[in-house]
């Protein structure tokens, strides 16, 4: 099929053949993605169903019955989601602009400091970070000592690094000749950033956002320790009271939530990534 010696003209043909093979590969990939994206909700629904059947099949004592009410679980799930969404929103608001600042020629010198900040945020164990912030909030007059606010602040600190790092990497990996062509045609620095750098960095930035979201779902299980609520409450009750159905319900719900968030973020990633890349 492949001729032993290729003249440049057959190279062109080879390219177009590669293109059609590419197209076939893309179709296959799309079908695979479809299976993947339909598969995940189905699996998660199956897990929830199994959990329901398992708990329903158990003889629940009074403690278990009191903990595992629909109201309780739905309320905690909602709190969990609220914490995750808030913290992700604020961390995006902070980390992406910081990532942009850290990659501009004029302000690039701040990059080590910004990365250091992000590193500290992630290096401190999440429980330690929550405890520290809880302490700071309680001793600072005017700040709420418990509840959503300190937890969200802590989650922001914890998920700052992945988004910052991915923003910086995403911006730095953009082909410099694409940028040179843009500048050479008279695009201002702002336009180059908005029209070229950010759109081309979107896939990498979104990968960071996805990581941050999943991290936040996990870390938010600690929120109940500081009055932030969330599914951690159920897990820890089950643990402390040695009630396996309660422990299992909390743990499975958190796991399903994390996977669901990852799945949704994946959909968004695919939707927002520019075509042609």
């Amino acid at each position: 099929m492949t001729p032993p010696s290729r003249t440049p003209e057959t190279l062109d043909e080879a390219r177009s053949r590669a293109d059609t093979e590419d197209a076939a590969a893309r179709r296959r990939a799309r079908r695979a993605a479809l299976v993947h994206y339909l598969g995940m909700p189905v699996v998660l629904a199956g897990v929830l169903l199994a959990l329901y059947l398992y708990v329903g099949g158990q003889e629940l004592d009074s403690i278990e019955a009191r903990t595992l009410t629909a109201d309780n679980l739905i309320g905690q799930t909602r709190q969990h989601i609220v914490l995750t969404v808030y913290s992700t929103f604020f961390v995006l608001l902070l980390a992406i602009p910081m990532g942009i600042v850290a990659t501009r020629p004029a302000t690039r010198r701040f990059a080590p400091a910004i990365i250091g900040l992000g590193n500290a945020g992630q290096a401190i164990p999440s429980l330690g970070m929550l405890a520290l912030l809880f302490y700071v909030f309680r001793t600072t007059p005017g700040l709420p000592s418990t509840g959503t606010v300190p937890v969200v602040v802590s989650l922001v600190g914890y998920s700052f690094l992945p988004i910052l790092r991915n923003t910086m990497v995403g911006l730095d990996q953009v082909d410099r000749f694409v940028l040179e062509a843009g500048r050479g045609m008279g695009m201002s620095n702002g336009l180059v950033l908005r029209r070229l750098e950010l759109p081309l960095a979107v896939p990498v930035i979104l990968a960071g956002v996805r990581t941050a979201l999943v991290l936040n779902v996990g870390t938010a299980t600690l929120a109940f320790l500081f009055g932030g609520g969330g599914l951690g409450q159920t897990i820890f009750s089950g643990f402390q009271l040695r009630r396996t159905p309660v422990l299992l319900t909390g743990a499975v719900l958190v796991a399903v939530l994390a996977l669901l968030v990852d799945y949704l973020a994946g959909l968004i990633e695919e939707k927002l990534s520019p075509k042609g890349l």
Binding site: P8, E180, K275, L277
Partner: protein, 412 residues
């Protein structure tokens, strides 16, 4: 030589339409010193690029030719010196405004991978605030100009195109807002040799129509000779070793550096600059009509000093070469002798003609017009004579140059 001279005079009317000056780009004492380096990358480069011409910057790598080019649109800001374009000093104006007036083509092309071919080409018109219909029409026109069918390619993404096609889009994008000036940094450098030759030829044809003022960087002296109306051979720090027409560079290298850079085979390169129609080729070769009686043809050949007769068809297109012994065979005339081969047209270069001759078996090339009708015969001796004439003319020029100041065509 005469060909180039004609090209120069053809430029003058266009020049008269502009601001009046024949100089489009005027680089004055342009210097670039990169931070942390002792020597300047470009040291007081002073050069004038005439309106409507292609000036090629050529030189060994690291000589500063790309830096020099990129200072014209201030992608690299000059440390000192000034740039005057079309009479306006643009050294300190808003660089973005400047760049929208200058087409820019780079070797890596730099197409925007996340937008379609149409949006790529529309970049500068959009920046200039053209309305949608005008942009759409312009994109279609330009894709057509560079040989890409708009219907097929408008909505494609860069990665779906081959390297040659991408570079065509790169050229279309640079021409989008019809800038008077183009900067091209090794535009055909990353393309396979056959596609490169095709793109070079197409670009020269396009340039004959558009008459843009072009600064063109390459490291390939053959490309410089082919593309340039003038060539600036640069050595370290962008010092000009010679700034002259390709003919002069080849026949009168100003110094040893130029001689070395042009390399051996300067004579062969010169053959690329002379065209068949400029040569005194034979027009009275022995011919006959293919439908003439065999005996008439035989007698004509026999009575002449020629060793072969060229048979033409009713439209004058060469068909077959017949030698004396061929008539001994008892076959129709159309099957005797050898098929005529090695056709060249008047605009072909002597280099092309020589190649045809060497490939064809007859040792001559048949000169035809654009419809393929016979005009004459180009012999290898004609080419040798032509080379000899070039040498004599050069010697003549050298003697003249010693008596009077050399005619500085650029500074006029």
């Amino acid at each position: 030589m005469t060909d180039r001279a004609n090209a120069d005079t053809a430029v003058s009317p266009a020049a008269a339409e502009g601001t009046g000056s024949s100089v489009m780009i005027d680089l004055i004492e342009l210097t670039k010193r990169f931070p942390g380096t002792q020597d300047p990358a470009v040291d007081r480069l002073t050069l004038q690029i005439p309106r409507g011409e292609i000036v090629v910057f050529v030189g060994p790598s690291g000589c500063g030719k790309t830096t020099s080019l990129k200072m014209i649109n201030r992608i690299i800001e000059p440390t000192s010196g000034s740039i005057v374009i079309d009479g306006e000093d643009v050294t300190t104006i808003d660089p973005n405004r400047l760049r929208r007036r200058i087409g820019y083509v780079i070797q890596q092309i730099g197409l925007f991978p996340h937008v379609t071919i149409e949006e790529n080409v529309a970049t500068v018109p959009k920046l200039l605030g053209w309305d949608r219909d005008r942009i759409h029409a312009r994109v279609d026109e330009l894709l057509d100009v560079v040989g890409l069918d708009p219907e097929i390619y408008r909505q494609r993404y860069p990665k779906e195109l081959s390297g040659g096609q991408r570079q065509r889009v790169g050229v279309a994008r640079a021409l989008a807002a019809d800038p008077p000036v183009l900067l091209m940094d090794e535009p055909f450098g990353a393309i396979d040799p056959i596609t490169r030759t095709r793109l070079q030829n197409e670009f020269l044809r396009l340039q004959a129509e558009l008459q843009k003022t072009i600064a063109f960087v390459t490291h390939d002296i053959d490309e410089a000779i082919k593309m340039g109306d003038r060539i600036a051979i640069l050595r370290e720090h962008s010092h000009i070793a010679q700034f002259a027409t390709p003919e002069e560079i080849l026949t009168q290298p100003a110094n040893e550096f130029v001689e070395d850079f042009v390399g051996t085979g300067a004579t062969l390169k010169r053959l690329k600059l002379s065209r068949v129609r400029e040569v005194d080729y034979t027009t009275d070769a022995l011919t006959g009509r293919i439908d003439e009686p065999r005996e008439v043809l035989r007698r004509r050949l026999h009575e002449s000093e020629w060793t072969a007769i060229l048979l033409l068809d009713a439209d004058g297109r060469p068909q077959r070469w017949l030698r004396g012994p061929d008539f001994l065979h008892d076959r129709p005339v159309t099957q005797l002798g050898l098929p005529a081969r090695a056709f060249v047209e008047g605009h072909a270069t002597l280099s092309d003609a020589l190649e045809e001759m060497l490939l064809g078996s007859a040792g001559v090339a048949i000169v035809v017009d654009n419809r393929g009708s016979y005009l004459g015969i180009l012999d290898i001796d004609d080419i040798i004579t032509s080379i000899q004439t070039m040498r004599d003319a050069d010697a003549e020029f050298h003697r003249a140059a010693k008596l009077v100041d050399p005619l500085d065509e650029v500074a006029e």
